[in-house]
Amino acid sequence: MLGEGILKGLTETAKNFFGSYFSAERLTTVEYPEQRIAPFEATRVFPFLVYDAENRDGGGPEWEAGLRCVACQICEKECPPKCIYIEKSKDKKLDYLGKAQYYPARFDIDISVCMSCQICVEVCPFEAIKMDTKFELSTTDRFGGLLLDREQLAKSNEYYHQIHSAEATAVDAKLAIEKTKFDAKAKVAAATAIAKAAAVAGEGA
Amino acid sequence: MSFVFYMLAALSVTGALAAVLLKNTVHCALALTVAFAGLALLFLDLDAQFAGFAQILVYIGAVAILVVFAILLTKGSETPKDGVFSRTWLVGLVIAAGVFAVLGWAVIGSIRVLPQEKAVPTVTVLQIGNALVGRYVLPLEIVAVLLTAAMVGAVIVAMHEKEGEK
């Protein structure tokens, strides 16, 4: 019969209307500034740079020394809205693997341009850039306030664990494997070098 | 009460003048609405309540809307480059002036025999309804047939011809 669906719909909304006064579970929204929903594992807003507190090479403050970023500029090239700006350093410092690498002398992200696509995170071979969950970023300064520099972007690995614990643990495991491999390779290389040196020395003698 | 009459007459004549003189066709249609409204108020001034409201309902509610629809459907709202008046505008104007002169002469000439004042007739809607289905039932039926025929005719005339039928 015509109109049945309309009546069904009207009953449903009437149930919602009266039910929402009696059962609090029905309410799907929270009153935001006072009540907040805890961020989900997959929450992502804008990128940040991860640093390891253990890595102290190169001096400077903790965040500067420990940056995982090696200024390879892949993210800068891949970024669809081109909101990343990187200046490579002239000198090198040891990265978290203990390998001499360049580091970003300047790393800026304009979050007024960023579209939160996460491509920079996916292309980064060094697990140096990750997505943040902080979203209350409004400022009164349209231009300077939304252009984040290295210092504002750098967050510790502990912070990363706090916001995306499962993901961060997986990344840590991966890095640990890389580190072991690198160390093994370095050991072999060192052994070869020693052997070579010995051979050279032997020849010389 | 004469003041009200002069105001309303001025309103409808201004509206009518604007309707035939303005360049933009949509403005003409809106001015026409003003003239219709002035006329409806003149009807009310003449104690013809029913006719006045029918005038608003039919002319402002239907005819004016029809006119603006037609203007938009014919892209008529752009002002043509070579003037809005016809080549023979002078002839038309002379004819209209002649007609007005004759009508005005006839009215002024018979001003002595025309009634000056008259008691307000009390006409209820009930009386009009009774007259419509009593004394005037045949005209009513004919108008009904005419309106139906006009509706069907207008739909057929304005309908898109199908490609295959040509």
Binding site: L10, L27 | H27, T33, F50, F53, G61, A62, V68
Partner: protein, 397 residues
């Protein structure tokens, strides 16, 4: 308590008495004009105040329908929200597009609000509480109602904006189509009451048998007429589910896209006032106007009943808005011309039968049977041909 009881008379006629009291300070020559001005001022104050309240109740109601809280920040329970909104829209910059037709652009909201306000003049808001008791009151109301179409067209055309023009054309086409339904469903009431005067129509319904009132909605033709009137009224005021003239997902905001600040507020006001006046007319025609719903409740002032029925209709409007999705243009037109209009004409016929069959159970049976059979048959046919009914989405699922 009887009708003659002085307390009842005072509470029932309090506004009439107040008006007399205020006028008694003036010289006799001025009293007529001052009385009209006073009544106009009352209407101009009461209904915008009601509008302000309705906006916040509508937002709260819609929120509850969607299991949200709705506005609750400004003032206690968010009741001061309309004041904040009002201040905002009054202090906003009034932008007129460069290529817009400035004069028509300015006139459109004014014409709309004036035309809508005129409609209130004939509504009897209580016993002896109609501003003018016109013999052709209903005709006057519809004459004013059609004038709003022109205002909508003016707004859409003068903005020089595709969306505005499209919205205006949609709105005008829709309003003309449903105007026919609105008129024809009201004509049944005129046939029964034998008058176009709204006060007489209310008096014709103000009788009771077994404690129940003789409202026209409690007859087969009245019930069908009321349903069709409600559909047409929803379409006439461009309310959801017939809100395609301002369908924001396709037309930005329809004919008021280019309006801002105070002029937008006027449009908003006009829309809600049209809703009030059309609900008031529906109340008057079918729900007995200011008469009480039961005989034992007649001691409550008449204006209280009018306004409660009015607010009840507004609630139904909000309820419908929270429930139904928007129609498509062709569905809207098909529904008006191929379903509601034939039903309306049939209803006129049924009302005639009702009139001439005389009292008794026979006319109830005959009239209900005709209407139900026609409704079911036509509904079945239309649904079978897929003209109306549940929607199917080709690419969904």
């Amino acid at each position: 308590m009887t009708i003659e009881n002085p307390i009842f008379v005072t509470s029932d006629q309090i506004f009439v008495l107040l008006r007399h009291w205020a006028l008694s300070f003036l010289p006799a020559a001025w009293q007529t004009i001052a009385g009209v001005l006073l009544s106009v001022a009352a209407i101009v104050c009461i209904f915008p105040a009601l509008f302000a309240l309705t906006t916040v109740f509508e937002r709260k109601g819609l929120g509850r329908i969607q299991n949200r809280l709705g506005p609750n920040r400004v003032g206690p329970f968010g009741l001061l929200q309309p004041i904040a909104d009002g201040i905002k829209s009054l202090t906003k910059e009034d932008i007129v597009p460069l290529s817009a037709d400035a004069a028509v652009h300015f006139l459109a909201p004014v014409v709309l609000v004036v035309a809508v306000f005129m409609g209130f003049a004939v509504l009897p808001m209580g016993r002896n509480m109609a501003l003018v008791d016109m013999d052709a009151g209903l005709l006057f109301y519809f004459a004013m109602g059609t004038s709003t179409e022109l205002a909508v067209f003016m707004a859409g055309w003068s903005s020089r904006n595709k969306y505005s023009l499209l919205g205006a054309m949609r709105a005008v086409a829709q309003m003309i189509s449903y105007e026919v339904v609105l008129l024809l469903s009201s004509v049944t009431v005129v046939m029964m009451a034998g008058s176009l005067s709204l006060t007489k129509i209310v008096e014709a319904q103000n009788h009771y048998s077994f404690g129940f009132p003789h409202w026209y909605i409690f007859t087969p033709w009245g019930c069908a007429g009321f349903v069709m009137y409600a559909i047409a009224a929803t379409a006439e005021t461009n309310r959801s589910p017939f809100d395609l003239p301002e369908g924001e997902s396709e037309l930005v905001a329809g004919y008021h896209t280019e309006y801002s600040g105070f002029k937008f507020a006027l449009f908003f006001l006009g829309e809600y006032l049209a809703m009030f006046s059309i609900s008031g007319l529906g109340t008057t025609l079918f729900l007995g106007g200011w008469s009480a719903p039961f005989l034992f409740l007649t001691w409550v002032p008449s204006w209280f009943w009018f306004f409660s029925k009015l607010m009840l209709s507004i609630f139904v409007f909000i309820w419908l808005r929270g429930t139904l999705p928007r129609l498509r243009q062709d569905q809207l037109m098909n529904f008006a011309w191929k379903f509601v209009l034939p039903m309306c004409l049939l209803n006129l016929f049924v009302a005639g039968i009702w009139r001439f069959l005389g009292d008794g159970w026979l006319r109830w049976m005959v009239c209900s049977a005709i209407l139900i059979v026609a409704y079911a048959g036509m509904g079945w046919g239309e649904m079978r041909r897929g003209k109306i009914g549940p929607r199917s989405y080709r690419y969904a699922e």
